[in-house]
Amino acid sequence: MTPGKKRLNYSYYPGCSLHASGREYDISTRALFKALNVGLKEVPDWFCCGATPAHNVDELLSLSLCAKNLSLAEQVEGDLAVACAACFSRLKTTQHHLKEDEEKRKQVETAIAGPAALDKPVKHILEILAREFGLSKLEESVKKPLMGLKVASYYGCLLTRPPEVPELDDCEDPSIMEDILRALGAEPVKWSHRMECCGANFTLSRPGVVLKLSNAILESARLAGADCIMVACPLCHGNLDIRQKEIKDAYGAPDSTLFGNIFGSELQQGAPKDQRDLPVFYITQLAALAMGVPSGNLGFESVITDPKPLLREKQLL
């Protein structure tokens, strides 16, 4: 497809989270694509991709679930657009793996009783925006630039790792999120924790893990002077947004700051600890906002850490 000449059209695999705990990601993705006049058609009757728990204990099951979804996606025209970082990673991994391993492919094809669609291109929303729609066109489409909004762009684990699978960006030093932010008129901050794990699905089994890891991420973003965090994964969003208050309660005392232990408490004395609320946005929420989509259509009412005061302060509401 040549961008700019023909209307872009995608099939769409939302995944389980986007129909429930990450509903605002789904809502804003649809709103954004509509505003950009890019077609998006949901794959009918898709299944769960298996996410981390399936491949953790049963690789064949994980591969089969993803292969089944890929073959369901064949029914809908256009490359497969995926918003969830975990679904994206699993679908891409499945294609990569089955192309290399003939024996596994045969087992999977027996399990799903049909061919595995290994050539259906799977694309993350980020690469659709930055490469297929194009950064310059994105910049031209902006109606309300996100002026003065300092954003910590958080990649998390699965968007870029391992290097040979997602083909999204550099595996250690990506810039695709920052590029998009600049096109939207926002100001990406430089910070240390953009590729660190948030604790992922331990939020169910061992929430203490999430509190510790996500606390480090929030602290790092505050230290870098960010107003908010931008994510492209519903699980990262859940951990940083839903658990943010709990993290504050657990790590709020001055001595347990990220650097408090290193520099000692004397340096901290007198200075109140930075405890700002950090709203967590999905990439599609910020992009749609910049495209002039009314904020009522972006699912902000579902977010726990209220982003509205910040958006009002920056005159973006």
Partner: protein
Amino acid sequence: MKNKLMHLSNETMNVGFVKKVEALSGSSVRRCFQCGKCSAGCPMSAFMEHPPNRIVRLLQLGQGQRVLAGRSIWYCASCETCTTRCPNKVDLAAIMDALRKLSWDADGPSKESYVQLANRLFIENIRTYGRQYELRLGAAFNMKSGQFLKDLMLGPKLISKGKLKMFHSKNKNIGEIEAIFKRIEEMRKKGEAL
């Protein structure tokens, strides 16, 4: 386990186990030369009794059962930082998957039960509903782990925000999921798949 001496001999060097892990993971275990880069970048190593590089070393020395009995493999977040950074192309994330599968199939000799329970419920949900049904996942986890009060305040908040659905979404082709599970079980019974 702490004070147990490790005896190394031709008998204890369990090459069969290493080969099993290598076959399941598709990655070499023996290629690791212990640079420790995996553990340096591992976000979860602080929670593990054996950090990732030591797990590989234990495997190399035939101490697979020690690894399976510990909780480290269940504390891996599958972030793939180790796989990304390994200079010898040891796919540690895949090795962790293989070890978990071996532990899982042996009905979990590991002490870590919460993570295994969460995984089991997650997969059960897929089999029953085709998609995740988060309310059931959370509720069942609390009941079965005996933590009745865990995240109790969070539930109603998430429901009021529309983030937790009271009812699961329905798939028209739900029968196909059961068929996939059945076919995999059959293949394993016949020995056609691991």
